[in-house]
Symmetry: D2
C-alpha cells in the first residue's frame, strides 16, 4: 500500500481523498490544509491524519507520495519541497499562473528526475482516451483538424474568478492539454473572447466566451470553443477529423432515456453536470496511473512538460486577445 | 409515353395523379370517379379527360394501363374489366376485404397472365428497401426476428372506419406485406387488440391498438405493434435482427435540426406526418416500377399473390382476436 | 453498520459481496457456500468469515440480514430458515422454479411479516427507474403499449441451461417483472419460441429466441422480444407508449465515441456487455434500498409478491408455448 | 407564368433549368450559353430556345426575368445588361471575385432599384431556415457563438481550382453568407489554412483545409471549419449557441437505416453527397422565393448587399491568411 499525503481539502482535494480511500493500492496518510477544520473533516470521512502544516507530512518517512490539490499559488513551493523530501508527486493543474516561474522550478528540480505527474483528468476519460488511441492506430489517417468544445454549465463565483488567472489559464488549460495530447507542438495561437457584456466577467477582466484557433507543427489546425455558461449542462466534445474519417467524443447523459411527445422526438436528458460527475471515473483512473507509475518505476503518462506546454498555450492565447494578433507560444527553455 | 387511366380521384388518387403527371414516361389520359366534379378538378390540375364512367377509359384503345385507386369494394370488378380490356394494372391495397373473392378473381384472370401490380408503397421506400437488400445480401446472417412498428398520428374519421374493413385489413395490411416481404410464408398468427375504451373504436367494432405475433415457415418470429394514434407523428419503424447484427429503419423528421435547452438535449422535431409526406418518394418509385415493368415486359416487383398473402394474414389476425387463439393463415388455393 | 451474511459465492454472489464491502452502511459478516474454497476466496477479497454451512451464519445473533445468492433450488429453504432466525432477507430471483412451492412458502411465512426483498436488479437501474417515474407522473398520459427487448450477448453453457428452468424462468423473468412494474396485473400471456435449430437449445429443450405478448388488466398491451445471443452486445431496451408520447430506455455504450468513415457515419461502440457491467450501479442501488428499508423499518421496494407475479407469468408463457394458446397467469392464492 | 431566360448551361445551370421546368409559376423561355450545344441539349430536356448570345434573350420583351448561372467573370456584365433590359435577376454567387467591381456595379445600378436576388441556396434549406427562425423567435436567448462546418466530399479538379478564386471566395462564401444571415455585420476576421502538403492545392495556391474565426458587431463569435475533402460525405453543420440553449443543423443521410454488428452499433449511411442532392429542395425553394418576390413586387429574401457582404468577408479571410493577422472586412461604400 502506497501511503499518500494530500495537500488541499477543498473541492478537488475531496475528489482525490475519495479516490485514494477507495483504491486498493493506496491509503491516505495525511490531509493538510491551512484551514485545519477542513482537513480534519475530510480525514474523518476518508482516513489519514489532519494537519495545517504540509511539512509534518513531508517529514513523515512513511509517506511515499503527495497529491497537490491546494491553491494554485502554493503549487510550485510544494513541488519543490516534495522533491526535496523525495516524494513522488501528483500535482493538480495549473502548475502556476507564471510561465517563468514554471521554467525556473523545472530548471531547479529536473536533475533530481522527480516522478511528477500532472492532473489533467480528461486524459484518463475513457472516451477521450479511446479516440486518441484510435487516431494513433491510424483509423482516420492523417489528422487534419481537431475541434474541441468545452462549456461549463454555470459561471464560477466572482471570488473564484478573482484568483483563477482567467479563463485561458483556468478552464481552457484542459483544452490546451487536449490539443497538445493530439497534436504535439503548436506553433501559432489566435484567440477572440467576449464578456457577453456581463458585469461578472467585466469586473473580473475575464471572458464569458472564447474561441481559439491554433496551428500545430504538423500542419494540423485546431479550434477551441469555450463558454463559462451552458444551459444544457457540461458540454465536453471533441472531433478529430482526418483523411479517412472522423472520431468524435459526444456528450453524456446520466441515463439512456429518450422522450418523444407532441412537439419533440428523441429528447435526451440534460448533459451530466459537472466535472465531478462527468469525470468521476477519470479521476480514479488518473490516480491509478499515478500509483502504477510509482510501483513500476516509470514516468507517468502526463508529466511536468505537458503542464508547461498547456500553460504556454494559455499565455499565448492571453497575449493574442490583448494584442489582437496570432502569437507563437514560448518554447520551453 | 404510356397513357394511363386513373380510377378514383380521392386522397390516394390525387397522389397517383401527381406522380403520373410528373413522370417523364407516362401521361394521364383519363381520370374517372363516380363523383365527376372530383375527377374534373383533378384533371384540371394534372391533365387527362374526366369521366364518371370507367368504361369510357377502358374502351379507349390508346390507354395502356390503369391505376385503380377507387373505393375498395370496386377493386375486383375494375381488375376484371381492366384485364378484359387488356390493360396493365396497378391496384391499390387491399384487393378486397373478402379473401374468397380475391381467390375467385385470381382463378378467373390468372390464365390471362395479366401484368398486375399491387400498390404496397412501403416496398418502394428507400429505407425499407435498403434494409431488405442488405438482409438479402447476408449482412446480418440468418434473420431471426422481425419487429415492425406502425402508428398513425391521428385516428381516421368514424365514416372512414365504418367501411375500412377494420385495422388489420386497412392499416396492418402494410405491415403484413412487410412481414411477407422479409419472411416469406407465415404459418401462425396471434393477435391482441384493444379499443382503449374509446367510443370511436368501440362503435366501429374496431381497434385503437394491436399487437400481432407471427411465426414464419423459416422459423423466424415477427411482432407488429400498431396504434391508430401517435402523439409524436407517423411512427414507421422496422428492426431486422439476425445472427450477425441488426438493421433498423428509424423514423424521419422533415429537417435535421436538434435542440438542447435547460431540460432536454438533442431533441428532434415531430416525425413526418403523414403517409403522403413520409412516402412521397416511395409513391413516385412505385409508379416508376410499374412503368418499368410494362416497358420491359416483365412482372412487377409486387404482384397479385403478395396482395393475397397480406390479406390472408389480416384475416388470420381478425380470427385470432375473435377466437383468442393463434391461427394458421389460409393458404392460396 | 448492518451485518450481513451472504449465501452463495458464485458470479452473482461476488457482485453482492463487493456491493456490501463498498457500502458505508453494511459489512460482510459471513460468506457461506457449499464449495467452501469459493467462500474463503471471496471473503479474502471482501471480508467476512467463510463457511460451508449457512446455519453457522443464521445462528450468529450479530447477523442482521442475509443475501441469498445461492443456487435456485436452495432459495426457498434458505428463506424459511432465515425467517425462522429472524433475519431480513434479500433474495435473488427466481424464488423457485416451482410456483406451487412459492405459494406454500409464502403461506407459511406471511404471518411472520418478514422483511423480504427480491433482487430484480433492473428496477434499480437509473434509466428504467426514470422512465417508470415519468410514466407515473403522467408524462405520456395513459400507458397503452409497453415494449421490452432483452437479448443476451452470448448463450450460456449447456450445463447452465440444464438447471436454469428454461429461458422464461431464467432470463425473461426480468422482463416479466418489468411488465408487472409498469402494468400491474396481467390477464393473458401468449408466447412463441424457437431454437433456431441450434443443438444447444434443442438438447436443453430450451429456446434461442422468444416473443411474448401480454394483456394487462388495465387494457394495456405488452410485447417482449428475447434472444439468447446478440452480436452487438447486451440489448436492454424498453418503450412505454402512451396517449401523449413515449419514453424509451435505449442501449448504452462504455464511451460516447462516434466514428464516421467512407462507408458509415455516427457509429457507436458495441453495447455494454454484460449484465455485471450494464447493471453495476443498479446492483449497488438495490443493496442500498435493502439497507434503507431495514433501517427505516419499512417494506422494500420489491417484495415477495413481485417475485411470485413474475414467476406466474413465466409459467404462463411456458404453458402457452406448450399448448399453442394464450394462457391466463395463475393468480396468487 | 413568368418567362425566364437562363444564362449558363453548366452544372448549376442544369439545376435551375430543372427547377424552372418543374415550377407551376414559370417557364423556360431561353437558355443561353457560349457553348451553344450545351444550351441546346439542356433546352431539349427542359424547354426554351437555345442561343449562344444572351442579347437575344434580353431583347425578347416576353422575358420577365433572368437566372445568371454562367461563369463568374460574366456575372457583373450580365447583371448590368439585364438591369438595362428591365429584367428581374436571380444571380448565382459570387457576384464577382473583385470586391471593387462589385461596389462599382452597385453604384451604377442602385438607382434603378433592380429586383436582384443572390443564389445562396443554403438559406432556403429547411433545416438552416428553421434554426434561423427559432433563433429569431428567441428560443435560445441571445446568440453567443455560431459554429459552421462545411466540408466537401471530393476536391474539385485542378482546372476548376484555377479559376475559382480560391476556397474562401468559392466555397466558404456560403459559410460567410450563413454568418451574415445569423450574425449581421462582422467586424473582425481571422483565418488559418493549409494545403495538407497536397500538390493539387499547392499548385493552385489554394487551401485544403481552413478555419476562420469572426467577431460580429453584436459581440457574438463565429468559427468556420472547412475542408475540400471529407471521407464520410458532404459535411454541412451549424450550431447556434445562446444563453438558453443551442440549435443545431446535423448531417443528413439518404435513408433512416441504422446498422449494428459485432463491432459497431447505430451506424448510419454515408452523408448525402453532394450539394445537388443535399440541397435539391433548397434550389427549388430558392427559385420559388424569386418568383414570389417578382409576383408580389417586393425585394427578395437575399439581395445584392448579402452577396457583397459575404464577398467582403472572403476578401478579409484571404488577407488574414496572407498577413497572418485579423482583418476588418471592408464596409460597403
Amino acid at each position: 500500500l502506497l501511503r499518500i499525503a494530500l495537500f488541499g481539502a477543498g473541492r478537488i482535494g475531496a475528489v482525490h481523498a475519495r479516490s485514494i480511500a477507495e483504491s486498493r493500492d493506496a491509503e491516505l496518510a495525511w490531509i493538510c490544509d491551512p484551514v485545519e477544520p477542513s482537513a480534519t473533516a475530510l480525514a474523518g470521512r476518508h482516513g489519514g491524519r489532519a494537519s495545517a502544516d504540509p511539512d509534518e507530512a513531508l517529514a513523515d518517512a512513511a509517506v511515499d507520495a503527495v497529491v497537490i490539490a491546494s491553491a494554485t499559488p502554493t503549487h510550485i513551493d510544494l513541488i519543490r519541497r516534495s522533491v526535496d523530501a523525495g516524494k513522488k508527486i501528483l500535482c493538480e493543474k495549473p502548475i502556476s499562473l507564471d510561465l517563468a516561474a514554471i521554467d525556473r522550478c523545472w530548471a531547479d528540480i529536473r536533475d533530481r528526475e522527480p516522478l511528477l505527474m500532472l492532473g489533467f483528468n480528461r486524459r484518463f476519460d475513457a472516451s477521450f482516451r479511446e479516440v486518441h488511441e484510435r487516431v494513433a492506430a491510424g483509423e482516420i489517417g492523417t489528422l487534419r483538424t481537431l475541434r474541441i468544445t468545452s462549456r461549463d454549465p454555470h459561471p464560477p463565483p466572482a471570488a473564484y474568478l478573482a484568483t483563477s488567472g482567467g479563463m485561458f489559464r483556468d478552464m481552457t488549460i484542459h483544452d490546451f492539454d487536449m490539443a497538445g495530447y493530439f497534436l504535439g507542438d503548436v506553433v501559432e495561437v489566435s484567440a477572440m473572447a467576449t464578456t457577453n457584456g456581463d458585469a461578472l466577467f467585466e469586473d473580473a477582466r475575464d471572458h464569458a466566451q472564447a474561441v481559439v484557433t491554433m496551428r500545430a507543427a504538423s500542419g494540423a489546425l485546431c479550434t477551441i470553443v469555450n463558454s463559462r455558461t451552458c444551459a444544457f449542462g457540461y458540454d465536453q466534445r471533441l472531433e478529430a477529423f482526418g483523411d479517412l474519417g472522423s472520431l468524435e467524443v459526444t456528450n453524456q447523459t446520466a441515463t439512456s432515456v429518450q422522450a418523444s411527445d407532441g412537439t419533440r422526438t428523441g429528447a435526451t436528458d440534460r448533459y451530466v453536470d459537472f466535472f465531478l460527475e462527468r469525470y468521476a471515473a477519470a479521476y480514479r483512473a488518473e490516480l491509478a496511473e499515478f500509483l502504477a507509475a510509482i510501483s513500476e518505476g516509470r514516468p507517468p503518462a502526463v508529466g511536468f512538460s505537458d503542464g508547461r506546454r498547456a500553460q504556454a498555450l494559455a499565455e499565448a492565447a492571453i497575449e493574442s486577445v490583448a494584442s489582437g494578433r496570432p502569437v507563437q507560444p514560448q518554447p520551453a527553455p
